[in-house]
Amino acid sequence: MTIKKIQEEIVDEFSMFDDWMQRYEYMIDLGKSLPLINEAYKTDDNIIKGCQSKVWVHAELQGGKLVFTADSDAIITKGIIAILIRAFSDQTPQDVIEADTGFIDEIGLKEHLSPTRANGLVSMVKQLKLYAVAYQTQLNLK
């Protein structure tokens, strides 16, 4: 499925919620079900610097596609990463580079985009894109 299609799916799911409680409960559930990152990758190098919670992201290329794994010590943050991973993992680096991120606004997570939120959603998206750029550069060199 394309990134765009997956994002539409996520927006559809979120549109079924009536209030913030349901939205948060869903994110908490997503956070709890996020496949954990391999402990070996939970290194300080893989930490995305956010002020309040720790976020680790690892990326690797499998058959030409980028696969992201991640973890956080805060559960809501983990839920947000789970959504991002669903939208961007298992795609080619080029597609991740070009992907639009407007769906984050549409699912009511806009408040988490503010840099003062300090949960690093902005940094997370940036980090995923940086990984994509790095791997694409590697592919181009081959």
Binding site: W20, M21, Y24, E25, I28, C51, Q52, S53, K54, D73, A74, I75, I76, T77, A118, N119
Partner: protein, 405 residues
């Protein structure tokens, strides 16, 4: 005058606000306090009627603004009981105040001298001294604290010596609420000839500080934590010490005479007040002190203690909740965590319920490291909070716990 919280709340327009479709419950007072109509009125009055630059204009507006600004300085002097009004330097806030002293002492401290800080300082009362030590070769030593969040005074005694040049301590800890025994700290420091700076940012909103009685050398306050505006605060310093300190910033206002060969500095307080100050802010700070004194600091302290006792008791009902900072003498600040939960998650859910708390390390990473936690949820109360708001907080935390666990 009897303390009437319902009446007091009417003075604060922001308390009528809704956040996320719920009545705002503002419990982040240790970060910044809210502003009563009386102070907002003073700000509006300034811009409506006599906005002008001070200390140099011959025209009427400038005279009026200068008079009001200097009257505010006298109000501040009287409130904190300083000997002279010119010992009150108006700054942009506590951080600025501390930096004036730390910078000034660079030329007064030598290699091998010792500088003591308490284990529960805000970053703003650690970093400037680390920088001072880097510049001068002085050694930074830390006065440790107990698990309750009280300074270990016997360790302090051991650290004090003839080498101790400076001692820094907050009056009240922003993360734990501990009221430190600063009178004893000051007396002991003076016996070895050390100079003491007390960061009063968290104490001034709750305790009426008497500078002469404390015999403190330097004391710092931020107006925005005590019903005043942001961007203004004070550095109090004893006259002889302020005279010894070199100026921090050069510019207009702080000079007596300037030629390209030599500049002589102005007298106190202007030596440390380069450039156009926050005139409106200074005047509004005076109005904030009037407002709080009108309610009365004794009444405020009694009421806030009641809030602290009730909130502590009710929060402890919650399973797995642990309070950090259980000193015998503390202000109405409660830092807590719930077993298995990240403070950020709790804070996010409380926000959705209209409850404003602070989460994180509160600019006190050494304290968090001491307790081996990433941060806490901090509810900090003011005299305009109510017992009912404590109940809303407790219900909110219970709900967050149920959602997150």
């Amino acid at each position: 005058m009897a303390f009437d919280v319902t009446k007091i709340r009417k003075d604060f327009p922001i308390l009528k606000r809704q956040v996320n479709e719920r009545p705002l419950v503002y419990l982040d007072n240790a970060a910044t306090s809210q502003t009563p109509q009386q102070v907002i009125g003073a700000i509006v009055d300034y811009y409506h009627n006599y906005n002008a630059n001070i200390h140099r204009g011959v025209h009427t507006l400038s005279q009026e603004a200068t008079d009001k600004y200097e009257q505010a300085r006298i109000k501040i002097q009287q409130h904190f009981n300083a000997v002279k009004a010119y010992e009150i330097i108006l700054t942009s806030g506590t951080t600025h105040s501390i930096n004036i002293v730390a910078n000034g002492f660079s030329s007064l401290v030598n290699k091998g001298d010792e500088v003591l800080v308490s284990a529960m300082e805000h970053h703003s009362n650690i970093v400037p001294w680390q920088m001072l030590c880097e510049r001068t070769g002085a050694v930074l030593k830390v006065v440790p604290m107990s698990l309750e969040g009280e300074l270990l005074m016997n360790e302090y005694d051991k650290l004090l010596s003839g080498r101790t040049k400076l001692v820094f301590c907050n009056h009240v800890s922003n993360a734990l609420g501990t009221v430190n025994p600063i009178k004893e700290i000051i007396e002991k420091a003076h016996k070895v000839g050390a100079v003491v700076l007390v960061d009063g940012a968290q104490a001034a909103p709750h305790i009426k500080t008497n500078l002469q009685e404390l015999d403190v050398d330097f004391y710092t306050v931020s107006a925005h934590k005590m019903c005043g505006p942001t961007g203004v605060g004070i550095l109090y310093g004893k006259e002889e010490l302020l005279n010894k300190l070199p100026p921090y910033q050069g510019g207009g206002e702080m000079i007596a005479e300037v030629t390209f060969e030599k500049t002589t500095y102005a007298d106190l307080p202007h030596k440390f007040e380069a450039g156009t100050p926050n005139i409106c802010g200074g005047i509004a700070f005076g109005a904030a002190l009037d407002y709080m004194n009108n309610i009365g600091f004794d009444a405020i302290a009694t009421y806030e203690h009641e809030l602290l006792v009730y909130a502590t008791e009710r929060l402890l009902e919650i399973e797995g909740l642990k309070i950090y900072g259980t000193a015998k003498d503390k202000t109405a600040v409660i830092s807590f965590n719930i077993e298995g939960l990240h403070p950020y998650d709790i804070g996010s859910i409380l926000d959705k319920l209209g409850i404003a708390v602070r989460t994180g390390h509160h600019c006190t990473q050494p304290i968090m490291d001491f307790f081996k936690i990433p941060g806490t949820v901090r509810a900090s109360f003011s005299f305009y909070n109510t017992l009912e708001e404590v109940d809303v907080l407790v219900e909110g935390v219970k709900r967050a716990r149920a959602m997150l666990l």
